[in-house]
Amino acid sequence: MAALELRSVSKAFKASKVLDSVSLAAEEGEIVCVFGPSGSGKTVLLRLIAGVEQADEGSIMLEGRDVTDTAPEARGVGMAFQNFALFPHMSAFDNVASALTARRASPEAIRGKVEKIARLLKIGHVLEHAPRELSNGQKQRTALARALVADPKILLLDDPLRNVDAKLRYEMRLELPALLRTSGSTVLYVTQDYKEAMALGDRIAVLLDGGVAQVAKPADIYREPATLGVARLFGDPAINLVPVQPLASPSGPKIGIGGASLSLPASYAHAIGKRCMLGLRPESLAVEAQPSQESFDVDLVAATPLNEKTLLLLRTADGRELLASEPNADEAPRRHGPAFARFDANAVLLFDAANGRRIAPQSA
């Protein structure tokens, strides 16, 4: 029995359908990251589960119990909101305790539990402060404490790190998995940062255009995205996409980029003749000063160094822009001008241009 299960849930606001027959299940103790671009309905999904919005169709099961028509206070879930949603007229302590007062616990028991979770989240020293006296990071931790304090079976986290600064976000990204595991809750974690989703999720559910595009383990999604849409969402910078039409040749399938004819692995023979999109991850694209067997001509337009890698903006002979990334080397900076690009043929992704689905390589 899944701890949480959505069965063909739909939700529309006025004329626009935000969620269209979404089904999703999470096992007990699992962390499922719900990831998608803004406006893809992630937050709505969470709100439906919390009960603060009502689904138009479908049913929501929590631990085998149908809660579709249950009031939010009776669902027994914990939730942290993206904007924190702290009660401004209550101290941090009362904010956290609010999840316990409703359950008629004794004052000593409440104090004990609040202080325990506060210690874990390092907000013990600010419990008597009002929300407006807290820093952003402390607000975020208070909101998290409020969601966690009653040991909910289901924990819903709506992009909890979005509104804290980069450094804290990074630290929390490393600490959260352990914290969530100790709570034992089944977690649905909404984020629009693919790195956060990959770092935190046991599995990732990619929400796109109101539907679930793919549910899989993080590494699998990155390596084998189900569709073009999913591929574009994972990776920073985003994957390069080039329309191609593989052609047959004696040495296997060939594609043309910027006038050059380049080889694809033989396992893509079944894609010959199809109109396709070639997906090239920037890290699988190498830029060299000398031409080689499988290289094609590019113009190096700009080199933008990031922390530990450098991004190269390339323009192909037919005016297409490609991004390549390479680990920083201590050699002299890249010169703008003509260069030669080469891709790792085994790391390419191929998508059907007609429906956007990935064309998996087939072993002969």
Binding site: P37, D165, A166, K167, Y170, E171, R173, L174, E175, P177, A178, Y194, K195, M198, A199, L200, P218, A219, Y222, R232, L233, F234, G235, D236, P237, A238, R281, E283, V301, A302, T304, P305, L306, N307, E308, L311, L313, E321, L323, S325, P327, H336
Partner: protein, 374 residues
């Protein structure tokens, strides 16, 4: 002498507040920007970077000091006569005008011919990909599009200096990397001297020739990305610049036969003195305590003197982030290959002498970077 486009000399900004102590937002800032240079003002919120930008633009009065742009002293001039173009963080597009008219506004007031205006608007809108929305009104386009329109409006003008306040903060992530590349290529090609404010170091690294790191109103370091990464001037810069930030620990120092840094309940970094150049050993000298730092990318995993428990191991598609529980803090290591280790297991690690940064424990100023003195 280098060709200086903009110089700030001993610039202060003090905000007087009724009934409260004044706030010293910018403290004695000295900065010289060369013609055609791209500068990033990097810092967290409240560090003084936006006040600095607004003083240069003329929206804030300078409390003390001079600002000179293209050999003219500008700090007392009204904004319109300073010769600067600015893109605002809040976009500030004129709501009753279409995107096209917004962009063309300054060109028309500069009495350019209609044909020139047309050409320049078309060119800049292709660059930031807003050709399709040129005839729409600001209220009907998304935040990311408004930001691109605002950027276009600033870049389309001819000015001695371009000021960009968080130019990419709201951009769609899929577009950001490409736009950064195009923006940089435009700025370089036209030799447009520009200063942009950002809190995002990825953006600062990607675009800027030099980065001014600010904190608490003070310019901490003004240098290239490589310099900031390899030779941070103090502990603040070391832990602020870098993603993930540098791991730092306070350690007991032994500087004799061997150079040894011992962190309480944490790692020991131990080297034969012969490995370390004399000037570095002299700089470290007889101090008993120091702060040592190692960049996450420089942590060597799978061997060495030290062992720690893994807190988390996260594979992000093109890199792996490993966090270890060390001396009550997290020690982070990054690798471009997946690391086969699970949370809860122990792992051995070490760092090379060339990757060790040493800071004074009291002043937090850098003492040495690897095999060089600070």
């Amino acid at each position: 002498m280098a060709d200086i486009a903009l110089s700030l000399t001993k610039v202060d900004k003090i905000y007087q507040r009724r009934g409260k102590p004044p706030v010293h937002a910018v403290k004695s800032l000295d900065m010289a920007v060369e013609r055609g240079e791209i500068i990033a003002l990097l810092g967290s919120s409240g560090c003084g970077k936006t006040s600095t930008l607004r003083m240069i633009a003329g929206f804030e009065a300078v409390s003390n000091g001079d600002i000179v742009l293209a050999d003219r002293r500008i700090d007392q001039l009204p904004p319109a006569r300073r010769g600067v173009a600015m893109a605002f963080e809040g976009y500030s597009l004129y709501p009753p005008l279409t995107v096209r008219d917004n962009i063309a506004f300054a060109l028309k007031s500069a009495r350019l011919s209609a044909k020139d205006v047309e050409k320049r608007v078309a060119e800049i809108s292709r660059l930031v990909e807003i050709e399709e929305i040129l005839d729409r009104y600001p209220s009907s386009i998304s935040g990311g599009q408004q930001q691109r329109a605002s950027l276009a409006r600033a870049l389309v003008r001819r000015a001695d200096l371009y000021l960009l306040d968080e130019p990419m903060g709201q951009l769609e992530p899929q577009l950001r990397a490409v736009l950064r590349g195009r923006l940089k290529s435009l700025l370089v090609e036209r030799r447009m001297t520009s200063i942009f404010v950002t809190h995002d170091q990825t953006e600062a690294n990607a675009l800027a020739d030099r980065i001014a790191v600010m904190e608490a109103g003070v310019l901490q370091q003004f240098a290239s990305q490589k310099e900031l990464r390899d030779r941070p001037a103090n502990l603040f810069v070391a832990t602020f610049v870098g993603e993930p930030p540098m791991n730092v620990f306070e350690a007991a120092v032994e500087n004799g036969e061997r150079l040894r840094f011992k962190v309480t309940a944490g790692p020991t970094f131990d080297f034969a003195s012969s490995e370390i150049p004399l000037p570095v050993r002299q700089a470290i000298g007889g101090r008993e305590r120091a702060v040592v730092g190692v960049r996450p990318h420089a942590i060597r995993l799978g061997g060495g003197l030290n062992e720690a428990r893994i807190v988390s191991n996260q594979w992000l598609g093109d890199q792996s982030h490993l966090a270890m529980d060390v001396a009550g803090k997290l020690l982070v290591a990054v690798s471009h290959k997946p690391i086969a280790a699970k949370a809860g297991e122990k792992i051995r690690y070490d760092a090379a002498a060339a990757d060790l940064h040493v800071f004074d424990a009291a002043t937090e100023a850098a003492v040495s970077h690897g095999l060089e003195t600070a």
